[in-house]
Symmetry: C2
Subunit: 276 residues, 2 copies
């Protein structure tokens, strides 16, 4: 298949490298930065640099841009997409992206299904990308109006490049779950390191500090956009977390050992019930 990857950052670069390394598909790479395209060509991550003709030959287009940029790219380039071709994205929010791209797909005669490769790291950009980024990771597909065949193609491609688990769901469920599993931990990491104790933590910290603070090394432009494109579910999850933290804090303030122990036990039991 001809695969076009739009945006060769951490995710797009890793998809390109994975397709080139693990499959026989032909990979065309697009990036607004010509130096990145050169680097991708030189390292063999892509077979050719993208142009409108290459776009019209793509069987599958992966939009690996921030959500707003992904929508803009499609608005500007939809006339070049192959009629009936499959377009997907890699955005961390789905309702925002899927509503707009589904409407555009119907207008321009391509097929759209949303995707979210659940992988990342604390560095970004093409230099940080790697073919093995998705090994064993979860790939979430939001079919929107796409036919089963298109969803099957995305599943197949995901398995070819190493994803370990595929989840098909709705945009609303995706966004509610991701607010909890990914967005809250990122907000939390930033809030956590704002403590006046943080700069002096060395020698006093171990795994707990490291784990909670890890993702504070955040790409603030990307995450501010993702947070605001998922406002309602994220505010709900943050409210929930703050409520439970307040509950624990109150039992400590009140020196209420039984109530505190009951809350902590509840945490342990939830974790144990999940077999974790």
């Amino acid at each position: 298949m001809n695969i076009a990857i739009i945006g060769l950052g951490l995710i797009g670069g890793s998809l390109a490298k994975a397709f080139s390394e693990y499959t026989e598909h032909r990979v065309t790479g697009f990036d607004q930065n010509p130096a990145v395209v050169d680097s991708a060509l030189r390292t063999g991550a892509i077979h050719q640099a993208g142009d409108p003709t290459a776009l019209s030959q793509a069987d599958v287009v992966y939009l690996c841009l921030y959500p707003e940029a992904a929508v803009s790219f499609v608005k500007q380039n939809a006339s070049h997409f192959r009629p009936g071709g499959l377009v997907t994205d890699a955005c961390g929010v789905k309702t925002f992206v899927c509503e707009q791209l589904t409407a555009l797909s119907q207008l321009h005669g391509f097929v759209f299904a949303g995707s979210h490769p659940m992988a990342g790291k604390e560095r970004s950009g093409f230099e940080a990308s790697e073919a093995s980024l998705f090994n064993g990771a979860s790939y979430i597909i939001v079919p929107c109006e796409a036919p089963k065949l298109a969803v099957d193609t995305l599943k197949q491609l995901a398995l070819e490049i190493g994803f370990g688990c595929i989840r098909v769901t709705t945009a609303a469920e995706h966004d509610r779950m991701i607010a909890f599993t990914s967005q809250v931990p990122h907000a939390l990491a930033c809030a956590y390191v704002m403590s006046p104790q943080c700069p002096g933590h060395k020698g006093f910290s171990a795994g707990s500090y490291r784990d909670v603070s890890r993702v504070a090394r955040i790409n603030e432009a990307l995450w501010a956009e993702l947070f605001l494109e998922n406002r309602e579910p994220l505010v709900e999850e943050l409210t929930e977390l703050i409520r439970h933290l307040d509950g624990i804090k109150n039992t400590i303030e009140n020196n209420d050992r039984n109530a505190l122990q009951a809350l902590l036990r509840c945490g342990r039991q939830i974790k144990e019930a999940l077999g974790e």
Copy 2:
């Protein structure tokens, strides 16, 4: 040296194994559960089971019990301690323990300095203990009224069993830092998994979920005790965290991208300034 270890759980068991495996010191082990003492003898973690005579021959006593239990043990057994002998603990809170044990040391003629080996895992008990638990970890010493010679002995012993870094501080500083680096993450993990989304996270989660929720598998009796013995600093840290989380939540509710981005940038910059 003759080393007595009181309590052969995760920390005491690991200290015993590390001393037996990495040093020539003679290790005597005490535990209220005779089966644990048998197991420690059988696996070579200790050279002999403890009794009052062994206690009177110990050059260094490590109290590896919960804080209240550590104080009780000393109250009941101080008459058996070798006059001038060195006693330390392994508790996660220091003001609570040090005040009481310093007073008891002066009353009974032994030397007390507080310790906190910064290591742990999600399992507890002797079966979970291992000689390598402290490899590269931080060992915090709170000298209290102990002479320099005693502190030097504790440092030397810590280095012999693999600790990578030694920090000497006051009980107040220890407790303030530990509230941030260790106690908040444990409270947080429990509060986090209380979200209604948690039971359905599989397929939607990656490293961020795993890292924040890891320590929710908590020993609630131990941690409820530790939290309540460090109430003031912990309540202060929880208040701080909730305030910053609220701040982030408000910028999201208000759809204020600049303010949100500034808060996230602040998190990133703190982390980067630490070289992490």
